[in-house]
């Protein structure tokens, strides 16, 4: 009798143990949708197009972004309140959360995946953390001038060689910090222009571009030849026109390079600017519905999808890069805040904050495939970013 009881108990324990183990799966087709109002994220499967988990308690996610560990298992979410949260996409759990600053704007991950770096408004600067433990390993203040003022940092992007490029909104500079030895960060400073608001790095990690709010033009740094300094591109793009009020700063992160061309938002104008990436000369302008916020190239570069600033933020337009014309105008929902392509671009996920939806579009037909209910969604980030420079 005792034997039989023991056998039964063993069987029950075995069943419990097996039941508690989630089925084996990969993480290359997973992603996160930020729920900006409730401080939570939904974990999504982009192959089956459904939600597989939710993680709460991440603080103020009103301007949140995420980067991914190189094994694509973990996401690091940067919150507005300086929170840095490490999320296990496979287990659907919060591994660790720290408060690393008072007011933050995003982050990046190093080439080797060992350092997670946050960019902060308050106190202005960047901080690096061990990707495994989230222990702080470096603090690089964005100090400028003779009075020790600190600038808000924008446009942080990873460069090859454990380097990070970023721009100083208040100081008008681009800086490149080398964190090969986190205990001794080395920072180079390049004057860039008035009020840089965001930045991007080209897919090869060579060119860093900062958009400027305070002047018409963008600042370009060739990080292979930094001694040449910053060069202005598209200078005076708004000449002769009165700039419109800007209700939402454009975002440059997530390069929009298609073939030999870069597609960039014009600030204060209803235009997307097209530049040749060999000469960095303007080769065209595309009139669009309103002021662009995100200008994103489909991974194959054949199309560029654009969303717009308040109050025209219910629209999305698609530009064909062969003809450089708008070929589609869509209304995915109210207050479209972000878009993310699947790794090879057959679909795009579009978040509509005020409709509480994320709509998956087929990019070949420009038609909706599926709509997911998400609480006040903003950023959509897929784990394939782990393998891309500048994402």
């Amino acid at each position: 009798m005792a034997h039989r009881m023991l056998a039964l108990l063993c069987m029950m324990l075995f069943t419990l143990a097996v039941g508690a183990t989630p089925p084996l799966r990969g993480s290359g087709d997973l992603g996160l949708v930020i729920e900006r109002g409730s401080g939570s994220v939904r974990i999504v499967d982009t192959t089956r197009q459904l939600e597989i988990g939710r993680v709460t308690g991440l603080g103020d996610l009103s301007h949140a972004s995420a980067v991914f560990s190189r094994d694509q298992r973990y996401a690091y979410v940067f919150g507005r309140d300086g929170g840095l949260s490490k999320i296990d996409l496979l287990a659907g759990t919060l591994v660790k959360r720290i408060l690393q600053a008072g007011n933050a704007i995003g982050g990046a991950i190093s080439q080797d995946g060992r350092l997670v770096v946050a960019q902060n408004y308050e106190p202005g600067g960047i901080k690096a953390f061990d990707a495994e433990t989230l222990e702080q390993v470096a603090d690089v203040p964005a100090s400028y001038g003779s009075e020790g003022k600190r600038s808000k940092v924008v446009g942080l992007a990873d460069l090859p060689g454990q380097r990070f490029a970023y721009a100083l909104f208040d100081a008008g500079e681009i800086r490149v910090t080398d964190l090969s030895d986190p205990a001794q960060p080395k920072t180079a400073v390049y004057p860039a222009g008035k009020q840089p608001y965001d930045g991007l790095v080209t897919p090869d990690g060579r060119y860093y571009i900062a958009g400027l709010f305070g002047e018409d033009g963008l600042a370009l740094l060739d990080t292979w030849q930094p001694q040449l300094g910053v060069r202005k591109i598209l200078a005076g793009y708004g000449k002769g026109e009165t700039p419109l009020p800007v209700y939402k700063m454009p975002h440059l992160r997530g390069w929009s390079i298609a073939g030999n061309r870069a597609y960039l938002p014009a600030i204060g104008h209803h235009e997307v600017l097209v530049v040749d990436t060999r000469s960095w000369q303007e080769v065209g302008r595309i009139a669009v519905k309103s002021q662009p916020v995100f200008v994103m190239a489909r991974p194959d570069g054949r199309e560029v999808w654009v969303n717009f600033a308040f109050p025209d933020n219910s629209w999305v337009q698609v530009i064909d890069t062969l003809s450089d014309t708008v070929v589609e105008t869509l209304q995915p929902g109210k207050a479209v805040l972000h878009m993310e392509f699947t790794p090879r671009g057959e679909a795009i996920w579009i978040s509509s904050r005020d409709d509480n939806t994320v709509t998956v579009y087929d990019t070949a037909r420009h038609a909706p495939l599926k709509t997911l209910g998400v609480d006040s969604p903003s950023g959509v980030f897929f784990s394939a970013r782990a393998a891309r420079i500048g994402f």
Partner: protein, 110 residues
């Protein structure tokens, strides 16, 4: 009675119109709360603790004259990214927002 047939629907129409106006005004605070939290929030933060733009909490605004805030909302601030909101907000809206900011801005109803 031909005139009556015309007048009645007119009166009914006006009454509906009147209610519609009253409703639009009644909904305005909720719209403004959403606009300030979500759209002003893209620079000032959803919690209004600041971002690219300064914090808009009662403590942060303590020494700012209400009139200056009113002008900043409607006309923007030169040399900064603060855009003018006239055309989107009228003076009544701006005055309401300033008063609420100084008192502690309400949360959105969920």
């Amino acid at each position: 009675m031909y005139p009556n047939k015309v007048i009645r629907p007119c009166v009914a129409g006006l009454a509906i119109f009147g209610i519609a106006i009253a409703d639009a005004r009644a909904d305005r605070p909720a719209e403004l709360i959403r606009l300030v939290r979500q759209d002003c929030g893209s620079c000032h933060g959803l919690t209004l603790q600041g971002g690219l733009g300064p914090a808009l909490t009662p403590a942060a605004l303590r020494d700012r004259p209400p009139e200056a805030l009113f002008v900043a909302i409607l006309h923007g601030r030169t040399g900064t990214p603060m855009p003018p909101f006239r055309g989107i907000l009228d003076e009544t809206d701006a005055r309401w927002i300033v008063a609420k900011l100084l008192a502690g801005f309400p949360q959105e109803a969920h």
